[in-house]
């Protein structure tokens, strides 16, 4: 690569030949990147392609093994987040790092050493000023624990701006946002760009890349593929750069046949730990041989609903009736523990949202994680040989990329962790399969592998309940879509005829039209 010394306006940020290895794994290999002043650069790549690792080196979290970093044309060394701030670089991480009991402004000034005497009202003012300038809607005095995810993200962005960052790096900022919140964020980002800030946004949502960015840099398996102007790209051209080969974006959806009633939920209501109503008179039926999608803004009661069916969360009232596909007997799953449910012969599989925190044990290897479902079979001692065989099968059939069967699952990438979990849950031949956000954080190929697995289960007559966040996918994959909104069912739509707008409306409308609740929230 030739030196670009003749340039008149130096680049805001330039990376040259960055290499970073973890053990034997090359997370980044000889990566170059250029960020111009006042542009929004999308950093695109599949999961595990090294986007976050690369940006962590710019933000001072990691230190590169090889390569150089230039800011405004001058080579710099970034050893810590403080160094990064000194060079006016700020990163908004995917997992927020805020003190819950502090107010927004207190979180913003935390750790700032400007030599001034601390004066909270002055800080509140300054934070408010920055917020107003870019169009953030926030109350600096509000405590973080009272905030929504999107507001917390705003605080993180304000934190970075308050420290005077000119280069902002956002790691998958839209992953936790609703479409409306995303639109607001993008409006703010555009204002920042007009203000001369340079922004890198990490994402793997192509439509967002196309709508927000000026240029797109693509990484694939830790290597830099190239940078293109957004105006000259299309979804399919970017996908090709990202995955290296053309893939069809069609999801198969067969007509359901031999549908039988499998699960009938009626009048389910329940409270969360804080005593707030998270499930409010939820009723629906799931049929064997179909995929029932559940759409809703994150935190609308989806988790509690699935956990109630699985026996982990205990609701206040309602019925969860399961029809045994063999005997035809009906059992009520409510007030049963997961073990009792299994002992009743209910073949229920559950892929929870929190894979490593609930579905799997991170420090255990694949075999021991597969064994979670079957370890009770032996007498006193464990039978590891069958789970090991199954683990080998899952690794082979689902193409789990792992150095070894003995590798702790937390060392695997998100997609492979998910394959292990889904593989295990399907292996027990369920008659009811529940999956919460099974493709969250997965790349396109892994996502399709999961969709295919769900479809296969449907073909076999399994009742599949899928909680999803990508409406396009839900509309393409599901036979019916249940929309949940603040713990209430606001509609059950036919997946073949429903439109995105319809679902989106049912997800977000604040007044409860169908339910005649007199105390309807004044939102």
């Amino acid at each position: 690569m030739e030196q670009k010394e003749a340039r008149n306006i130096p680049l805001a940020l330039e990376l040259k030949g960055i290499t970073k290895t973890f053990g034997t794994i090359k997370a980044n290999y000889n990566v170059d990147l250029e960020l111009k002043h006042g542009e929004i650069l999308a950093l695109l790549g599949e999961n595990g392609s090294g986007k976050t690792t690369l940006m962590n080196m710019v933000a001072g979290i990691y230190y590169p093994d090889e390569g150089q970093i230039f800011v405004d044309g001058e080579e710099v060394v970034i050893r810590s987040p403080k160094d990064a701030f000194d060079h006016k670089i700020g990163m908004i991480h995917q997992h927020f790092k805020l003190v819950d009991l502090f107010s927004a402004a207190e979180n913003v000034v935390l750790g700032v050493k400007d030599g001034k005497k601390f004066n909270i009202s002055e800080v509140n003012e300054r934070v408010q000023k920055i917020a107003d300038r870019y169009g953030f809607i926030i109350d600096p005095k509000e405590k973080v624990h009272e905030m929504s995810v999107s507001q917390k993200q705003t605080v993180e962005i304000l934190k970075v701006l308050y420290r005077g960052a000119d280069i902002l790096i956002l790691d998958e900022p839209t992953a936790v946002l609703t479409p409306q919140e995303t639109a607001k964020l993008f409006a703010v980002l555009r204002k920042m760009k007009e203000d001369g800030k340079s922004i890198i946004i990490i994402t793997h949502k192509l439509h967002e890349v196309l709508s927000i960015s000026d240029r797109v840099a693509v990484l694939r398996k830790g290597e830099y593929i190239g940078t293109v102007n957004t105006s000259e790209s299309t979804e399919s051209s970017l996908t090709e750069m990202m995955v290296g080969k053309k893939i069809t974006l069609n999801i198969d959806r067969s007509e359901p046949h031999d549908v039988v009633e499998r699960l009938s939920v009626s009048g389910l209501s329940g409270l969360n730990a804080e005593g707030l109503k998270v499930l409010d008179n939820v009723s629906f039926t799931a049929y064997g041989g179909e995929i029932l999608g559940i759409a809703g803004i994150a935190g609308s009661g989806q988790r509690e609903l699935l956990e109630a069916i699985a026996g982990i969360y205990s609701p206040e009232s309602g019925e969860i009736l399961y029809n045994d596909p063999k005997g035809g007997a009906q059992v009520n799953l409510r007030k049963k523990t997961p073990l009792q449910i299994r002992e009743l012969g209910v073949r229920l599989s559950f892929v929870p949202e929190d894979r490593l925190g609930m579905g799997l044990v991170g420090s255990m290897d694949i075999t021991d994680n597969i064994m979670l479902r079957s370890y009770r079979s032996g007498f006193v001692l464990l039978n590891r040989s069958d789970p090991k065989k199954l683990a080998e099968e899952i690794v082979n059939d689902l193409e789990v990329a792992t150095p070894h069967l003995n590798t702790p699952v937390r060392r695997l990438s998100g997609g492979n962790v998910q394959k292990v979990l889904v593989g295990r849950e399907i292996a027990s031949a369920p008659s009811l399969l529940m999956a919460a956000y099974p493709v969250r954080g997965l790349d396109i190929n892994s996502s399709y592998a999961i969709y295919n697995l769900l479809n296969e289960q449907k073909e076999r007559g399994v009742a599949v309940i899928l909680v999803g966040e990508d409406l396009d996918v839900l509309l393409a994959l599901c036979d019916r879509i249940l929309v949940i909104n603040s713990g209430r069912v606001t509609g059950i739509l036919d997946g073949r005829t429903a439109t995105k707008e319809e679902v989106g409306f049912l997800m977000t409308k604040s007044d409860r039209v169908e339910n005649t609740d007199p105390e309807g929230g004044a939102a």
């Binding site: 053990g23 230190y63 790691d171 699985a310 997961p338 929190d354 609930m358 370890y375 001692l381 937390r410």
Partner: protein, 409 residues
Amino acid sequence: MASEHHNAVKEPLIHITKNAAMPFWKGLLIRAAAVLIAFLLCSILAFFLIGANPLEFFGAFIKGNFGSNAMMAKLRIWKLLKDTAILLLIALAVTPAFRMRFWNIGAEGQVLMSALAAAAVVYYGKGITQEWLLLVIMFVAAVAAGIIWSVLPAIFKALWNANETLFTLMMNYVASFFVAYALVKWTPDGSSVLGELKRGHLPSPGNEYLIFTLTVLLITGIMFVYLYYSKQGYEISVVGESQRTARYIGINVKKVIVRTMTLSGVLCGLAGFMIVAALDHTVTTTSVGGRGFTAIIVSWLAKFNPLIMIGTALLVVFLNQGAGQLATTFRVSFAFPDVVVGIVIFFVIGCEFFIRYKVHFRHKNRHAAEVPAPGGEGSGGSGENPEKEGGGGGERPAEVIPDKGGKLK
């Protein structure tokens, strides 16, 4: 342009990356080297502090553990074995709870209460004429006491999530005062010294500690199988790693906590029984002598693996005995053995860093190169990447230590 600024650019002097799996022998070598270096350091320290030359220093360790003549050798070696065995037994008792992330630091009190119970059976059991029956009752009483003392905190933890560390710690003091009270009551002369109990001795074929040592060895094997190959051991690991996963899979977390602490109590009971029936034949407030805490170190050092605990228990006892001999020979305070043990353990723990991480020093020729070479090593398949994980459970694979001295050239 960039070249003008090369002087301003400093790569950290050292930076640290995570090591991939290290071959077993290499890890062993590093640990052995750590112990050796620690010993050398201790011998230097001994030279300056108590005037022992290295020969005398190491001589004391040999003498302290293996004796100076044949007759002493037998005594010393048996002492080494029995001290190791009792420490190992208590370490085995705390291990199941630790694997469950239940921080029981009350083994001291649990063993002490068991010893007291066993001694009480002898004291009050004058009517029991058959020796074997007395021993059985002693055993049962000791185990019952051990279970009560360890299950109490477990129940509070399971039902009300009471902090087990504080709870078990405070139970130690209660146990200690119970013993003090019993001793006052049992010694009308007011000496509070019970003296040797004449009855309730385990038979001693061969050597008086033989049965005891073999029992502990057997239990070590059983615990290894229990923890690694039994269903209950597996449940302990799952609960320890993630209670939510345990609940999801249908494990009754409360039951596992109470059951595991019951097991701890049984082993503590056995240790207390052995102290009275096979080792000391008496009980004092210091019968356990801090072993309840030392056992925690033994268990941690072995990463909660019972087989490795044989080695770590032996190491700790060996150090204590050798350094104790040193203190006797040179007539210095018995704080000195503690210093030696502390230094060695510090090195043993510290060397884990070098097993887990790799330290890179600054490339000497870095500044000569205009553009850094992209690394000559062939890239063999990019494989997996520890980028963000779904559950956020990923740890920081490596970190950078900014060096303060790097600015001075």
